[in-house]
């Protein structure tokens, strides 16, 4: 019995880096409408999306900066959530990941950004002041730097 408890406890412990909660549209909105840091970055990805996984470590690196909050929002279907968790842990992602809890993609896409046609990867950058920059394509380190610079200057 004790061994079993220990085993379960260990299991929980091992799962910590992959801990991902569900987030509905209201919760998602609060991430970018009430930003608690200078810059909030919200990246929309999925386990089936190659370019998303490629840019993930680069984004995660920015999330480690003190003035930046970074959230990954997985658009994976429920059936693929374990696959997504494996990718997060394989890539050593430290930033918080959420699984989107909204079945209607049209509603989700329009609520986040009017100009978003639905392609992923897509990333929303929000400044504390409310200024937003939305990017619907893959990003590299240099592009992210430029976007953050544009977001934080001329306030």
């Amino acid at each position: 019995m004790k061994t079993m408890i220990l085993f379960l406890g260990l299991g929980v412990f091992l799962n910590v880096p992959n801990e991902s909660q569900k987030i509905d549209l209201k919760g998602l909105k609060s991430l970018y409408e009430k930003p608690s840091n200078d810059v909030t970055i919200i990246n929309f990805w999925a386990s089936w999306c190659g370019p998303c996984i490629k840019e993930m470590p680069v984004l995660d690196g920015f999330g480690a900066q003190e003035n930046i909050d970074l959230f990954f929002i997985s658009m994976d279907f429920e059936q693929d959530e374990d696959k997504a968790k494996k990718i997060l842990s394989k890539k050593g992602v430290a930033s918080k990941n959420y699984f989107i809890d909204e079945k209607d993609p049209d509603k989700l896409i329009r609520s986040v950004e009017d100009s978003w046609t639905g392609a992923i990867p897509a990333t929303l950058f929000v400044h504390r002041s409310g200024k937003r920059i939305f990017h619907e394509a893959e990003l590299n380190h240099e592009q992210i730097q430029i976007i953050i610079k544009n977001l934080t200057t001329n306030q």
């Binding site: 639905g118 992923i120 990867p121």
Partner: protein, 210 residues
Amino acid sequence: MKNTFLTVTGVLVVVVLLFVNAMDSEQNSGKEVGDIAVDFNLKNVDDNMVSLSSKSSAKGYILVFTCNTCPYAKMYEQRIIDLDKKYSGKGYSVIAINPNDVNKQPGDSFEEMKKRYKEKGYSFPYLRDETQETTMAYGASKTPHVYVLNKEDAGKFRIEYIGAIDDSPREAADVQERYVEEAVDALLAGEKPKITGKRAIGCTIKWKEA
């Protein structure tokens, strides 16, 4: 003196007009529902060229920007084949266009497209948009991305629906709303589609490096 002034003013007006035009075209990138569809002349996997006017009996088309490689496009592949089976006899056949840059996505090469076409038994043209000009003209941004076109009297095609095929990408069995079918059914009944656009998640089109 007066002439110089007029010339300078004239040049300025032209410059401003050009500038405004440039801004406009940037904002209106792509087509919207209600716009006249742009015709094209693209190479099919059977090496023949295909355009909107190729099929004189067409009442319209289900134009799908799709590819071999995107997992989302693969989820919809059978449903695209089924759309053609259901509607080609009624005058609305599928035309599939693969826009992806082969350098970025070798799995979308013309040879790979030919293989896929044979393997899956596509009953509709599968065209390669080598220059990506057609894809840009439509404003397609992802695969799959559907445009339902309806032929009008003057032989022009009007865009009547843009967006998702249905509301359940992962499980075809869970589909509740068949947006493209509803749009085509409406056109067949001589009506306008009730829903003219639904956005879906998809893979970014692999654009050529500028």
